[in-house]
């Protein structure tokens, strides 16, 4: 592969942010096919359009996901990227690594692939970017045999689950997001690797309502940590915040002079439920009114902590806009204990109830949130065997178009028109 002239991409080598162009050029010194990545990208910059063909079904035996086929539409110009398939490798929970593990994976990718990667893909997998069809099986063999690692999901299956950093380095996590994510990922290997669903399905696990893994916006089943007792208050630390001895919000605003910390203005007045007040030097919280938004805890991490009776809320049905518009996940189960003691049995039971129903009634390429929208939330709740409660809605409906069922109406729906006409002339 010859060196390519890239006058447009070269302009992305200047500036303070690290340059992917410089990086690809350096990789091209030992992996010359990287010149063809730059070459085809330069052509796209010149013509302002992509040069990758639509689709191409490739994979490894026995799996229906994990590899995304890709071919160049100008292979004669850039033979080094004629095949440019993506390999998704399942990431460990919270994306901790050892250098030994990464070096071993990089050696495999240097041998079998283009030398380029994404750390990480949007769903969470390690993305190994660009290889030829004939390399897929040898790569997979080495990945499983030498590293004991595996591919992630793609297509109409369970996508590789992801979680926030959780208890491993965060004081707010209300359950062990790493443990749940890892356990369920292992439990559902078949669903990840062999597409049997109407469309993609995602789980994401966040430890608290800050939702650092964006689960409420992009997962079909979103598990978000919460608690049902009182926020723990360290009154001595509250005094330190009021005195200005501890930085507000963990020092997140230290780059600008916002003036002296004001607990009324910055915490109490911003509480969405107005459930906090000062009694002398003591901070009081009416926990029955608290909706656990995390603001006060975020602002005063040394003084306030989530309660001790911890668990999670389950929301269902988030997705990006294609097709009927974006949806956030809807609160379905306000509180559930998430415990390894019973191998997450309740969570698994919930997930499989959703799947059983969706696999039966979901249309081709319909996310579960769209199926819920099509049949209505009351129907979904009834399928799930969940009692409707006000927490399921922002507000009651404002139209009167209720789908009454026949058994709910005295005497049923069957009536005799002749009897009616005998009393009511037309």
């Amino acid at each position: 592969m010859a060196k390519r002239e890239t006058p447009l991409l070269d302009q992305l080598e200047s500036g303070p942010w690290p340059s992917f162009v410089t990086d690809i050029k350096r990789q091209a010194e030992t992996k010359p096919e990287c010149w063809d990545i730059l070459g085809i990208l330069e052509l796209s910059y010149k013509e302002r359009i992509t040069h990758w063909k639509h689709g191409g079904i490739v994979g490894v035996f026995g799996y229906g996901g994990g590899i995304v086929g890709r071919y160049a539409d100008v292979p004669e110009l850039f033979p080094g990227v004629e095949h440019f398939h993506t390999v998704r490798v399942a990431q460990p929970a919270s994306k901790y690594y050892t250098s030994a593990n990464l070096r071993q994976l990089m050696a495999l990718w240097e041998k079998y692939g283009s030398g380029m990667t994404n750390f990480h893909g949007s769903t969470g997998d390690i993305i190994l970017l660009g290889t030829r069809t004939e390399n897929l099986e040898p790569f997979f063999w080495d990945l499983t045999h030498d590293m004991g690692q595996d591919l992630g999901g793609s297509g109409s299956n369970l996508r590789t689950p992801a979680n926030c950093i959780g208890e491993s380095r965060c004081e707010w996590s209300c359950y062990d997001t790493e443990d749940v994510c890892h356990s369920l990922t292992l439990h559902y290997q078949d669903e990840i690797h062999r597409p049997a669903f109407p469309y993609k399905f995602k789980f994401k696990f966040s430890g608290c309502p800050n939702d650092c893994v964006a689960s409420i916006a992009r997962s079909d089943i979103s598990v978000i940590g919460t608690w049902r007792d009182a926020i723990r208050i360290d009154q001595a630390a509250v005094k330190e915040y009021v005195a200005g001895n501890y930085p507000a919000n963990g020092g997140a605003h230290s780059g600008r002079n916002w003036g002296k910390f004001d607990i009324n203005k910055e915490v109490i007045d911003l509480c969405p439920t107005e459930c906090m007040w000062m009694e002398g030097a003591e901070l009081k919280i009416d926990e029955k009114e608290c909706t656990r938004c995390m603001h006060c805890i975020n602002v005063m991490p040394r003084a306030l902590r989530p309660g001790l009776d911890k668990g999670a809320s389950i929301c269902v049905g988030a997705k990006a806009p294609i097709l009927d518009g974006a949806q956030f996940a809807t609160l379905i189960v306000p509180f559930i204990k998430v415990s390894k003691d019973n191998d997450f049995e309740e969570l698994i039971e919930f997930i499989e109830k959703v799947w059983d129903w969706w696999m039966e009634v979901g249309k081709n390429r319909e996310r579960v949130g769209e199926t819920m929208q099509r049949v209505g939330l009351p129907t979904f709740l009834s399928v799930m065997g969940i009692e409707p409660i006000p927490q399921h809605v922002k507000e009651p409906r404002s139209n009167p178009y209720i789908f009454w069922r026949e058994e709910e109406v005295e005497g049923g729906f069957a009536r005799d028109i002749d009897e009616f006409r005998a009393k009511h002339k037309a």
């Binding site: 350096r26 901790y96 994404n118 045999h145 208890e167 290997q189 603001h295 518009g325």
Partner: protein, 375 residues
């Protein structure tokens, strides 16, 4: 030894799943999991977490381009070997975190990072701009309406000082998706950069019979704009489709289902800017991003129009919002008419929803502000 193509199923191992996370925990993380008490950002890009055991972990956050080479990862491993006993992690926003177990080890690590020039910028914490989550763009995807890595590089070059500082009213999450499929889920971001198409699909009648299941292509259109049609190819009548152009909203879903309906185009494609989304439940509920700039051209290689638009919104927000207020909360407090005025963005009909459930976004009150929009 190794894969034998003659006997592909022999000795095959499958369904292993990911390695157990605990194998990769630095000792200080392993010893203190579930015991953390509080944290503090000691300087931009450096987080300190304090455990009830008295232990501390310092995490140094570094921005990465996400699209990185084998050599890059090896270099990152070198840094982890030198300072962190070979441990490291990545965040959900494509930052790298190097963790050390004492304050004394922070500065030597920062010095090493600085020795690589601009390659490992430290920042992305607190009330600043952290790394941009993004998609593949022209480097790998078959449906993009813009590039991803190049736009991100150009925007982050301009916003670099916001990455390395914490001077904003709250954190600002920027995301880029190179088409409406939104692999990057940009629909709940403070500022979303979204690739859009503006020309309806072409019909490749010479290929459609071989590559496309017509009923699926027809059913793929949410507005019923794709209809069955006949076409003549080499004098022979074939079954094909046609597109009712006035119904097309350029979502590209038909192309996803049917490779014979390409719609990308150098003039038609470009970028829309959406703002005010968020994911966190903090103070207000999660919000969708709202479309404020309908189209900016794909001006390669540095997308100056997009860079300027993002910067302008960020500067107006930084100057006007209250402490803790996210962009969407700020816009709602001052009113969207004020948002357009303060950001100096022309309001157009394109920002008025005319898709499903559009009525929810129309104003049905007499409460409004007299901005320059009222002539």
């Amino acid at each position: 030894m190794g894969y034998n193509p003659q006997k592909p199923m022999e000795g095959r191992i499958s369904d292993l799943g990911p390695p157990h996370y605990e194998k990769f925990f630095p000792p200080v993380i392993k010893a203190n999991k579930g015991k953390w008490l509080w944290h503090e950002i000691t300087q931009p890009g450096v987080l300190m977490h304090k455990s009830e055991t008295g232990d501390e972990v310092y995490s140094i956050r570094v921005g990465s381009p996400r699209l990185v080479s084998v050599e890059y990862i090896r270099e990152v491993c070198d840094i982890a070997d030198k300072h962190c006993d070979g441990f490291l992690r990545f965040t959900t926003r494509n930052n790298i975190e190097f963790m050390v177990d004492s304050r004394a080890k922070v500065q030597p690590l920062l010095d090493t990072l600085a020795s690589y020039g601009n390659k490992y910028p430290v920042g992305g914490t607190g009330a600043g701009v952290t790394n941009i989550v993004h998609t593949q763009g022209w480097v790998h995807c078959h449906t993009p309406a813009t590039d991803a890595s190049g736009v991100v590089k150009a925007v982050m070059d301009e916003l670099f000082d916001y990455f390395t500082s914490m001077t904003l009213p709250a954190q600002v999450r920027i995301a880029l998706a190179c088409c409406l499929n939104m692999c990057g889920a940009v629909h709940a971001s403070d500022i979303a950069i979204l690739g859009i198409h503006r020309k309806p699909p072409m019909i490749d009648n010479k290929r459609i019979s071989g590559v496309c299941e017509l009923p699926l292509a027809i059913a793929s259109c949410p507005l019923g704009a794709v209809k069955p049609a006949k076409a003549i190819v080499d004098g022979v009548e074939i079954k094909s489709v046609k597109v009712t152009v006035e119904r097309c909203m350029f979502c590209g879903n038909c192309y996803t289902m049917c490779p014979a309906m390409p719609l990308a185009d150098p003039e038609g494609d470009g970028i829309a800017i959406l703002v005010g989304g968020k994911v966190s439940n903090r103070i207000s509920a999660p919000k969708f991003s709202k479309l404020v700039i309908p189209f900016l051209p794909n001006t390669t290689p540095r997308w100056p129009e997009t860079v300027a638009a993002v910067k302008k919104i960020l500067v107006a927000y930084a100057a006007d919002a209250r402490k803790y207020e996210r962009i969407g909360e700020w816009a709602e407090r001052i009113g969207w008419e004020k948002f357009f005025e303060k950001c100096d963005i022309p309001f157009t009909e394109k920002s008025i929803d005319d898709y499903r459930l559009a009525y929810d976004t129309w104003r049905t009150t007499t409460q409004f502000k007299f901005t320059s929009h009222i002539k």
